[in-house]
Every structure is written in structure tokens, then in C-alpha cells.
Amino acid sequence: MTVLSKPAAPRLSRREHYDPKVVAAAFILIAPTIIGLCVLNIYPFFDTIRRSLYKTQGLGPEVYVGLKNFEKLFKDSMIGHATVNTLLYMLLTVPVGVLLSLIFAALLNSKIKGRDIYRGIYFLPMVVAPAAVAMVWRWIFNAENGILNIALKAIGIQGPSWLADPNTALLSCAIIGVWSAIGYDLVLILAGLQSISKSYYEAAEIDGANGIQSFFHITIPMVSPTLFFVVLMRAMTSLKQFDTIYLLINTRNPAYKNATVLMTLFYREAFEKFNKGYGSAIVIYTFVIIAIFTAIQFITEKKLVHYE
């Protein structure tokens, strides 16, 4: 890729000269995308910011309230809980999920029989509707009749009520999150592993390195750009987590306070209580949190990620 995109020598340096026919064609080609993005994303982005400064009562008129929505947000104890839960959910899912994906990807990267079958199986949850995933886990996690607690009882452990227990509700959601995402992350990491040239390992073997040494000194640095991408993407997705938690932790759940996250709160405010102004404030607040974490990750990237 680096070799091919050698720029054509600039014929008239400094001032760019364009071929009008090409420019016309280019504008026609990008028009649908650019117009679409302006209507669907650029305008809505600014409109959300504007809305966060207004109060809306159902279908009634909007009233300008300045920063009142944000004041309310910082005093709202549910936002506090949801923020803690969202960050906790990220900490529970991202490191474990990426580590497990890395381990399984490394195992699959050896010349092993049935690799495609294993990979196909791990990827399965990605192609199942999240509602179905949520439903079956609710059944497995059921306190009395769920298979998990029955199995635990058989070996003498009294399992908790999982999704209905304030201490384990978020953990249960995190287990589902890790389980759902492992296949996707694994496919990406495996692709990264497969692009590492065999010659590195051969050289290491000649130098007398064992498998574990090559893993830490060749595999990890070489796959670190992919790992960074996976961690970044996972962190962002976990901060935006909505579907399973929305379906599993409803407002009557005794663990509601301990497992509700920012996006479920946003949905309930904006589309169940029709507080569009307050909903906008919540989504902007979440965006700021995501931006902070993304920035932190890009700063650490320079130290940890090895680029060829």
C-alpha cells in the first residue's frame, strides 16, 4: 500500500489545477454520501446540542432553559449510578473479553484440526438477535429454575439471583457481554496473528526461544496494533451498551439502580418519558465520557503499540 500510492508529480506546484470534468464527476459521486451525512449526522449533532438547552414537555412547545438540563443531570442520583455502572461495565468486559479473545485466537493460530469449525462456533452470538440472546440468558440466570443455579447446587454452591441481585446484576450483564463479543474480537485478532510472518518464529526458534518467549516477544508486539484497535472499539461499544441491559434490567428489577447504564437511561428519558431536552443532555454527557476515554487510549497507544 505504501509503495503504490506514490503521488503523481505536481505539474504546477503550489496552486492546484483541477480537471473540471473530473471535478464534476467527483462531486456527483460524493454528493449522495455528503448530503446524506449532513442531513443525517451533521445537522442532528448540532440539533442535539441545541435541544440540550431546551425543556420539552411531551409534545408541548420547547422552552429555552440554558444549562438547566445539565444542572439537573449532575444532581440526578440515577445519572451518578448509571455513570458508575457504565464505567464498571467497561472494566468488567473489556480486559477480560480482549484477553480471552487473544488466548483463543492464539490457540486457533496453531496448525490445529477443525480451526474453521471452532472459529465458526465462537462467532455464533454475533449473528443472533440481541433480544434472543438476552432472553436465553435470562432463562439460564433464573434464580430458582435456571440451569446455572441448578448446576451450582449440584456441586454444593447456592447461586445468587444473578440478574435480580444488586451485587451480581451488572456482573451477569458483563458475562453476557463478553460471551457475545468474543467471536468478533477473536476473528479480528486471528486475522492480525495470521499476518505475522513465519520467519520471525523460525529465527526465534533457531536462537533457542521457547513458545512462551516467542509469544511475548514476537506475537504480542506484532499484534499490538490489532489489539489496540479491538480494545478501542470494545471500550467505545461498552460505554454505549444498550440492548441486553435494557431488556434484562427493567425499572422493577431490584437491581435497577446497580445495573442501569447511561444509554438505557437516555432511552427511557427521551423515548419513554419524552424528555427530549434532558435526553439530549444525557447523550452529550455520555459523548464527553467516551471522548475522554478515547483520548486516554490514544495517549497510551504511543507507549504500548508497536508499529512496523
Partner: protein
């Protein structure tokens, strides 16, 4: 590799086969954890409510009952749910492929003014979380009177910033000599795009199609917001609505979930290689 004593070779191959067996055991345990929920879902869906509550539980249903399926298809219009979900995926794939190919080619291969600015618009969409656009998008649709329609499901997927970015990367990796030769032969820009370049991006387009399908299928918030008429819902939103009705009647819930799982699962089993390679490609280039 070079001259090693036979005993050492044997020891090494013993070690290899033992470690290989351990790897298989770990992978099989992993596979069990991944598959079990689906197997349990299907098995439960054929049990009576009473049987599903037995302790210790039966593994296989005593009798394979289909009444849960009759019940769930009576309450939920599965035909409509399948149709809406497939339309959502199909239309989003078409839009992503057509518009992103056009823009991706232009950004990669053509010289035009304000290119960086326009590309910045594409990138900025990718940086922002989708939810930040949702309230205004909903208001626009409501204003057009298009809530509860197929168009409403498609709406945020009319154009794809990710698709544009991804295909641009791919077009950039194609050599310029091809298009230069075509231009010398008298092709105009559209002909170069359509006849020469587009056919070369087949793998990337398949990857983008898979990526779009997987994420359109798993998207729940948007369909839940715009289409609240049960006949216009997607599978995911539709079966989530039965939670309220059958709170703890798990066999019925499992029957609904199984029915919701089938279409994408069938597509996945048929095109497994394309699915996995597509996702790998969108991840590594994206």
C-alpha cells in the same frame, strides 16, 4: 531443523501431540460455553411450561411439543417481522454499497477541491456515537410522517460513513496504472469507475455487505424507537415486546427466540466463510 538425535525428535513430537490435545480440550470447553445457550434455548422451546420448571431438569423434552410455537406465532406476526428485518438488511446493504462505492472511489482516486473538508465530514461521523443523532433523526422522520414504515428502519443507514472510509482504503490500494491506461483509451471518469475499478473491489463489497447486515440485524434501539406498530417491527424489537406478555413462561419465550434466530443463522451457515472473512477485512482495514 538440522541434525538432531532421533530421541530428541521423538520427545519433541510427543510434547507436540500432548500440547495439541490440551489445546483441543480448551477449545472444546470454549465451544460448549458458546453453543450451550442456543441448545438450551431450542430444547426448552419444545418443553411444556411444567416440565421446564422441574428440578432436576430434563435435558431432552419428554415429548417434543410444538404448542409453544403455535402460541408464539399466534401473538406475534412472524411473517411481517421476517419481512421487515430482511428489508432493513437488504436496503441498508444496497445503500451502503452503492453510495459508499461512489464516494470511496472519488475520495481515493480523483482530485477535486475541498476533498479534505469533505473527507473530514465522513470521519467526524465515525468518531461520534450513533446515539447522539437519534433524537433529531426521530424528529425528522416524525415530521415527514414516516414513523412505522420500512423507510423509517432504513433511514439512518441511507449513507454509510464507515462504508465510504472502508472502500476508500480499498480503492487506494488499487494501482493507478489501470485507470491511467483506461483514460488514455478514452474512458471518462464514470467509465473508469464503473468498468475498471468497481469490479476489482468485489471482496471489499462482500465484506461491507456482511458488516452492514450483522450490525443492521443487531441494532435494537433505532427499530424500537421508530416502529412501535407490531406489524412494522424487526425481529429483535418484536420478540422483546413479548417479554411483558409472557414474563416467566420461558418455553414460549424460547420458541420466539428460536424463530427470531433462524433467518440470520441460516444465512451464516450458508456463507460462513464470507461472514468471517468479511468481518476480518472490515476490522483490519477499518
Amino acid at each position: 531443523m538440522t541434525t538432531v538425535a532421533p530421541a530428541a525428535v521423538k520427545r519433541k513430537s510427543n510434547y507436540r501431540s500432548r500440547s495439541r490435545m490440551i489445546i483441543h480440550i480448551i477449545l472444546i470447553i470454549g465451544s460448549f460455553v458458546m453453543i450451550f445457550p442456543f441448545v438450551w434455548m431450542i430444547l426448552t422451546s419444545f418443553k411444556s411450561n411444567g416440565e421446564s420448571l422441574l428440578i432436576p431438569p430434563t435435558i431432552l423434552p419428554r415429548e417434543w411439543l410444538t404448542e409453544n410455537y403455535t402460541e408464539v406465532t399466534r401473538t406475534l406476526p412472524f411473517g411481517a417481522l421476517y419481512f421487515n428485518t430482511l428489508m432493513l438488511m437488504f436496503l441498508r446493504i444496497i445503500c451502503a454499497l452503492v453510495f459508499s462505492s461512489m464516494a470511496g472511489f472519488a475520495f481515493a482516486k480523483l482530485r477535486f477541491p475541498f476533498k479534505r473538508f469533505f473527507f473530514f465530514i465522513v470521519l467526524s461521523q465515525m468518531m461520534l456515537p450513533n446515539q447522539i443523532f437519534i433524537i433529531p433523526q426521530y424528529q425528522m422522520l416524525a415530521g415527514m410522517g414516516k414513523l412505522n414504515s420500512i423507510f423509517a428502519l432504513l433511514f439512518p443507514g441511507l449513507v454509510s460513513a464507515f462504508g465510504t472510509f472502508f472502500l476508500r482504503q480499498f480503492y487506494m490500494s488499487l494501482p493507478n496504472v489501470l485507470s491511467e491506461a483506461a483514460v488514455l483509451d478514452g474512458c471518462n471518469t464514470f467509465q473508469v469507475f464503473f468498468r475498471i475499478m468497481l469490479p476489482l473491489t468485489k471482496t471489499a463489497m462482500i465484506a461491507l455487505a456482511v458488516f452492514t447486515a450483522v450490525f443492521a440485524y443487531s441494532d435494537m434501539m433505532w427499530p424500537l424507537i421508530v416502529n412501535n406498530n407490531i406489524n412494522m417491527m424487526t425481529l429483535s424489537a418484536g420478540i422483546s415486546s413479548m417479554q411483558g406478555q409472557y414474563t416467566t413462561r420461558y418455553p414460549i419465550l424460547m420458541a420466539g427466540s428460536t424463530l427470531a434466530m433462524i433467518p440470520m443463522m441460516v444465512l451464516y451457515l450458508l456463507f460462513q466463510r464470507q461472514f468471517i472473512e468479511g468481518i476480518a477485512l472490515t476490522g483490519t482495514k477499518g
